[in-house]
């Protein structure tokens, strides 16, 4: 009986974690892994393959942070979360960082006890319609049915848009984005509303992708980025600057392939970023090679983008807004000095 109860005690202890109040950085270092909240499955952003390996733009944020903090991009513990539980999971301390295509809004930033640490993808709500309908603009959609994923900010955005334009619509909501695609494909609704990033993924999934077009209208701003808990500025800074380092890396032409070389032979800006000059890492409470590790192991923003959602992926999303500021986009990293 004694043995039994000790087994029970041991068993129960496994699930319980009491995090020290010291700070996320110490917790992560002590644990040796980064706990990262991701989506249960979102093509190009966070997806698992047959071997159980996670990949995607959202996932790469976590990998970069793990590389910067722990020196190893694979030391990430992925926690798939639904839209409903994502903030609770972060607030309760179950995850260290939430990187789950979450739109940066005023309300979320100010009232939930959270901080958004940057933007990794400038998104917006868009429409996809069947080519057959011959619709050229969203303003022609009066009286149509809309396929929407339930419980997203899209649900509100579309209601606002239609009210503003004095049009009617009928919302057909689905639980997952895959189901919205099925609904759209079968003709249950006339158009599909979603973040543009998803529209491309959903379009690829159609039996005949060329039969659908994405309309030019973008009816809302949806900047997506990683989120951390409030009142932990050390950790907030780390995540913020890891995101920036990846963007700066692209700007400075530092890639996973040439980082090693540039660390020795690069210009001062590159050297500062890669830690061979200056003390940027130290100021964050990390080792000097924090950004070097992140870029060599995960790649700069461009590499990550093209690999996951861009030209090297099945989604083939063009950079658009998400290009560097000097190339027609709005991606702009604060100065790395």
């Amino acid at each position: 009986m004694k043995k039994l109860s000790s087994i029970i005690a041991g068993g129960l202890a496994i699930g319980l974690t009491i995090s020290a109040q010291a700070g996320t950085l110490e917790d992560v270092k002590k644990r040796g892994t980064l706990s990262c909240g991701v989506s249960t499955g979102l093509a190009g952003f966070s997806q698992k393959d047959e071997k159980g390996v996670w990949s995607g733009l959202d996932v790469d944020v976590c990998r970069s942070v793990a590389a910067a903090v722990l020196g190893d991009a694979s030391k990430v513990q992925y926690k798939p979360l639904t839209a409903k539980e994502r903030f609770t999971a972060l607030q309760s301390g179950e995850i260290d960082i939430l990187s789950r295509n979450t739109t940066w809004t005023h309300t979320r930033d100010t009232s939930l006890g959270l901080n958004f640490a940057g933007v990794i993808y400038y998104d917006g709500t868009g429409f996809m319609v069947s080519k057959k309908l011959g619709v050229k603009s969203a303003t022609e959609l009066d009286g149509a049915n809309a396929c929407i994923q339930a419980g997203t900010s899209t649900e509100l955005a579309i209601a606002d848009y239609f009210r503003e334009n004095k049009m009617n619509y009928k919302a057909v909501t689905f639980d997952t984005s895959d189901q919205t695609r099925t609904g759209f494909e079968s003709g249950r609704c006339d158009f599909l509303v979603s973040d543009q990033s998803q529209l491309y993924a959903l379009r690829i999934g159609l039996k005949d992708p060329s039969a659908a077009v994405v309309l030019p209208e973008v009816i809302s701003k949806e900047p997506l980025g990683p989120v951390v808990r409030q009142n932990d500025d050390v950790w907030f800074n780390i995540v913020k600057w890891v995101v920036n380092a990846s963007i700066e890396g692209e700007f400075q032409n530092v890639t996973s392939a040439n980082a090693k070389d540039l660390r020795k032979n690069g210009n001062p800006g590159q050297k500062r970023l890669l830690g061979s000059e200056g003390d940027l890492g130290e100021k964050l409470g990390l080792s000097a090679d924090w950004a070097y590790q992140a870029i060599t192991q995960v790649g700069n923003y461009s590499e990550s983008f093209e690999r996951n959602v861009g030209q090297d992926s099945p989604l083939k999303i063009s950079r658009g807004l998400n290009a560097q500021w000097n190339k027609g986009g709005i991606l702009y990293s604060p100065a790395m000095r």
Binding site: Q91, S92, L112, D142, G151, L156, A171, R188, D190
Partner: protein, 404 residues
Amino acid sequence: MFYQKTIEQIKTDTRPSSAGAKAFYNNPKYRGWIYQSLLLIFLIAFFYSIISNTLSNMAAQGIKSGFGFMTTSAGFDVLMSLIPFETTDSYTKVFIIGILNTILVSIIGVICSTMLGFIFGIAYFSRNWLIKKISIIYVETFRNIPVILQVLFWYTAVLTTLPSTRDSLSIGEAFFLNIRGLYIPRLIDEPKSFVVYIAIVIAIVAIFFLRRWARKRQDLTGEQFPLIWSSLGILLGLPLLALFIAGVPFHFEYPELKGFNFQGGINVIPELMALAIAMSIYTGAFIAEAVRAGIQSVPHGQTEAARSIGLKERKIMSLIIVPQAMRVITPMLNSEYQSLVKNTTIATAIGYPELFTVFAGSALNQVGQAIEMMFMSLAIYFALNMMISFIMNQFNKRVAITTR
């Protein structure tokens, strides 16, 4: 004296062994109170810690509390509602729409699953080998597959088999069936239409009296009256007569294809169809099993005895088998209906806007007050289940009295 008082308790609770009965903690009465006090202390501590933790967590996370949100505007659209709804309407209205939609699909589910269950339950006893096998396959297939898969399956099946809006299947220009659902004409009242409604009421009352008259007549003369057919005749005939006397005081609002969708008429959305089909088939399998068990619980000798006094097969069923089987079936029906109501929550997988999808789903995501909204939803499910339980218990009493 003392022992006499507590003898009931001793019998069912504790029986002290003769040794050690003196110590007060061995006294069953005190022991019971000790257990209960410990339980009470535990519960107080438990709830106190939960409530204080929750409050401090909510404060830290900036979660509001209270029911203020009920009056604010929802801001999103609901696919289907039995009452008029605008995106600017309040969450209270969303809540009511959710309840109504839950009740709607539950009622459809209860009726259809009962029909399916009885048909397949009785089919098990068919002399036709194929029918019997189909009954077995039906029960064993559908009750052993998680209902959520069945909902997804039927939804896919419904969506893939129905034609697009432009190629709707139609009967005349009144009934249309397409991927957006079933469109039927809506009946619009005119001033004189009350005549028809009165005729319907009269017909129902008339049937009630006809039944009594027919029973009395049989008691007196032994002659049987074709009650079902004559009732049907009255139920259809009287309103029809009134309809023509009043000069057809109705007109129809026909569904019409305008732009993307049909406008007007009544629209039965495919989500409702898929959910109702899945619920009916899934629950029907359990009811069929209950019906089978109920009929099997009636010994074969009952049938033989009834045959030997010359009763016809149909009368044997209605006078001998069914009344006896019902006492086994009724309690099972009660729990199946209750789980049907609870299972409607999986509508969230296909987006039928019942309570859980629309209120504990969409609305909760926008408002974020999980505790209030979850408990409001749960209260509704409890209320619905209690209602079912009440009705079935009344029914069960009637069955039980005549069985003994």
